[in-house]
Amino acid sequence: MLKLKPKIDFEVSVEAEITPQLATLSSDEISNFQVYYGKEKTKLGDLFEISKEGDDAKLVLDGDFSMVKWVGARMDDGEIVVKGDIGDHLGAYMTGGKIVVEGNALDWVGAEMKGGEIVVEGNARNYVGCAYWGDMTGMSGGKITIRGNVSNYIGEKMGGGEIEIFGNAGDFIGTEMKDGTITIHGSCGFVGGDMKGGVIKVKGSFEVVPGFKKVEDGFEGDVNVGGKGKITQF
């Protein structure tokens, strides 16, 4: 297990593509791991206090990591526990393993993820499970759970997997969604524009964009793109 703690309050963002794999390296290798502080290249050991206990693939991030981006990006196995807040791009492109955030997350949680699990106990912001701008497919496997609220653009271009939000969400839920499931326990704004497939379930209130037709248990569409997506209330 590897434990990281910020040495300073970060003034600009830190870009650190750290995965649980890091915990299996030697202390020297961990300390010399290259990260960016703003535009400057620097070493992990210069920004964080490092304590290593055993070689198991587990990362514990202790403190305020809200300025730290790309944590868990491309990870394929192991576990990350964040004891505070976390920055953008958490678990982007990940294919396996588990991330638990005890605080809040920011934008792009699980963007284009293919497998594994992310749990955020607090709130997240925009672009949960989305495709990056210009890409064709967002999240395509695995599960993202947000216990709090989220903002706009959730599961855009989603091609599979599951997103579950226990709080409220903003607008543009499942835009251009192709497959997979989005469940929202609270209320949200516009849902399902240009949706081609997949299922969106909302417990509270929501707004359907024009282009969906009423069916027995909810709505189907978006007919503008010949879509067979389903929106239901539960």
């Binding site: 535009k39 990056y132 701008w133 210009g134 890409d135």
Partner: protein
């Protein structure tokens, strides 16, 4: 501050001056190549070029590097902007996968030993934007070719056979846009596209104008020659990207047969790969390269460039708006359409060339066939950046043209459709290093009428590339990997007598010149004065006095006076 340079013991290949792999010294003073006697050898900085290839800086005569098309491409393709090449520091930030930012374009050319690149299609009404962007590209010399083939003035004057007025208009427009030469894109077809149509053959009438592509092309060649421009008509043919279009291409080339010029071609047909398809549909499409090559080799007034596709990402962007719509329908990819008032239009569609896709593999093979079958004195190496792919892969094309072994290796990974639809596998020709230098240096300079570029003779611009490749010992047919690696990054790139890149690292940021052609003294602009006033009043969204680019607005303009 221009230093004197003494490039010592290099192995020089300089086709324009007939030098083929000779060990010699080159002397540079005040940005020019000079005689040894003019340089104080003790003061000059010595560059040891022993066992290295010394050639003129590369000259990309057809690339889309500035203006509204590439800029819209960047907007449409945020995913292209994730590749960080250089973080800002001594140099500016340099970003982009295939679609590069302006600084990245200059830096990547410089690292590869290229020192000149021309923007191949400038929408005239967007001239200011194009020049602003060219001014943001460091390291290289540049110029822009405004597009004429669908401009209402041109259609009108050709229809009325008002040749003096057409000549005056060309001169006026080149001066106003600070343009370099006459680019023509799908003549008449883009105007037809304004009504949802196209001009697929030379005799399709342009809607609203009593004129055909045949007449437009002939008229523009005639008046370009009468004006005495340094570059010929630069043509993107009708019917681009359609099976069977090689016949249109040859028919178009024949229009040049009644014209001639002692110094250069009278018609440059660009990215011919996209216009060299035989067959009747995408099911039976095949290569028409051999027929085109036969024609081009048989005449001495036509040059072409390849438009070679590179497997991987690319972005199709041309002034050929109807073709771009067809491509969008064919691939389902994103599409943007541009309209430039009464001058024409453009379109942008992202594309990826995949080796296993039969059509893409066919296109790849046709580009190579053209490069191999046509005389190196008539075919320029190009990818029509970013239409066929990145210019940073020119070394791949160079190595492929020089090595049959490399081609055989590459053929194994592409769709077998290539074997039956093209003649690539049967071509034994291997270009020599001399011919490759011709295709990337001396020929493009001649095609563009730039006497001081593309060679290392006395008086030439001191744009020099030195590569880690010994022409006396390299076996280009077998050591293709070494050839590729050597051309990918120069040992030295010298621009205007200054070292700007060394061993693939940037050394110094400099600003090249923007060339533009002033032919106004060869024509009577008064003849079209009232027409201009009337058309601007009636059809333009801006007034005549606000149209165009003043020389003082450019960073480093160089006016080339035709007379």
């Amino acid at each position: 501050m221009h230093h004197m340079l003494h490039i010592k013991n290099g192995i020089v290949v300089d086709p324009k001056n007939g030098i083929n792999a000779e060990k010699m010294d080159i002397f540079v003073k005040e940005g020019k190549i000079v005689e040894e006697s003019e340089v104080d050898v003790k003061e000059a900085k010595v560059i040891d070029a022993s066992n290295k290839l010394v050639v003129a800086g590369g000259f990309d005569m057809h690339a889309h590097i500035a203006g509204s098309k590439i800029n819209t491409g960047r907007e449409m393709r945020p995913e292209e902007m994730r590749t960080v090449r250089l973080i800002a520091g001594k140099f500016r930030a340099s970003i982009g996968r295939v679609l590069l930012t302006s600084p990245a374009i200059g830096y990547e050319y410089a690292k590869m030993g290229y020192t000149t690149a021309f923007e191949a299609a400038q929408p005239p009404v967007g001239a200011l934007h194009t020049h602003e962007e060219l001014d943001a590209i460091p390291m290289i010399d540049k110029a822009a070719l405004p597009v004429f083939g669908n401009w209402h003035f041109v259609l009108k004057y050709v229809a009325e056979k008002e040749w003096e007025k057409l000549r005056a208009f060309l001169a006026w427009a080149l001066e106003r846009t600070k343009g370099f030469g006459v680019k023509v894109v799908n003549p008449g077809g883009v105007e037809a596209w304004m009504y949802g149509g196209n001009c697929k053959s030379l005799d399709d009438e342009v809607p609203g104008f009593n004129v055909t592509p045949r007449e437009i092309i002939t008229g523009l060649i005639q008046e370009t020659e009468n004006l005495g421009l340094c570059h010929s008509v630069h043509l993107h043919c009708n019917n681009l990207g359609t099976p069977g279009n090689y016949q249109t291409t040859i028919e178009t080339m024949k229009l040049a047969s009644k014209f001639s010029n002692d110094k250069r071609q009278v018609l440059h047909v660009t990215h011919v790969q996209f216009n060299a398809y035989a067959g009747s549909s995408w099911r039976d499409v095949a290569s028409g390269a051999a027929e085109i090559a036969k024609y081009v080799n048989s005449v001495d007034n036509i040059t072409i460039d390849m438009g070679q596709p590179i497997f991987g990402h690319a972005t199709a962007m041309t002034g050929d708006a109807p073709f771009q719509f067809t491509l969008h329908k064919l691939t389902g990819s994103r599409w943007s359409n541009k309209d430039s008032e009464i001058e024409g239009g453009a379109g942008i569609v992202p594309i990826a060339y995949l080796p296993k896709n039969p059509v893409h593999a066919l296109q790849w093979a046709i580009g190579l066939e053209l490069g191999l079958l046509i005389d190196s004195d008539r075919v320029v190496l190009s990818t029509d950046y970013p239409n066929g792919g990145p210019f940073t892969e020119y070394p791949y094309v160079m190595a492929m043209l020089m090595s049959k072994k490399m081609r055989e290796k590459e053929l194994e990974r592409v769709s077998p459709y290539v074997q039956k639809a093209t003649g690539l596998a049967a071509i034994d020709n291997e270009k020599t290093l001399y011919e490759i230098i011709q295709m990337t240096r001396s020929l493009p300079a001649r095609v563009m009428g730039m006497d001081n570029k593309g060679h290392l003779g006395i008086g030439a611009d001191a744009d020099i590339a030195i590569y880690n490749l010994d022409p006396l010992s390299i076996d280009t047919a077998n050591d293709f990997e070494a050839v590729y690696k050597a051309f990918k990054t120069s040992a030295y790139t010298i621009k205007g007598g200054e070292i700007i890149a060394k061993d693939g690292e940037l050394v110094k940021e400099i600003w090249g010149r923007t060339f533009w052609v002033d032919a106004t003294s060869n024509a009577s602009i008064e003849a079209i004065d009232s027409d201009l006033n009337e058309m601007f009043e009636k059809y333009y969204s801006l007034q005549r006095q606000n149209y165009g680019v003043e020389e003082a607005w450019l960073r480093k303009p160089e006016r080339l006076v035709m007379g």
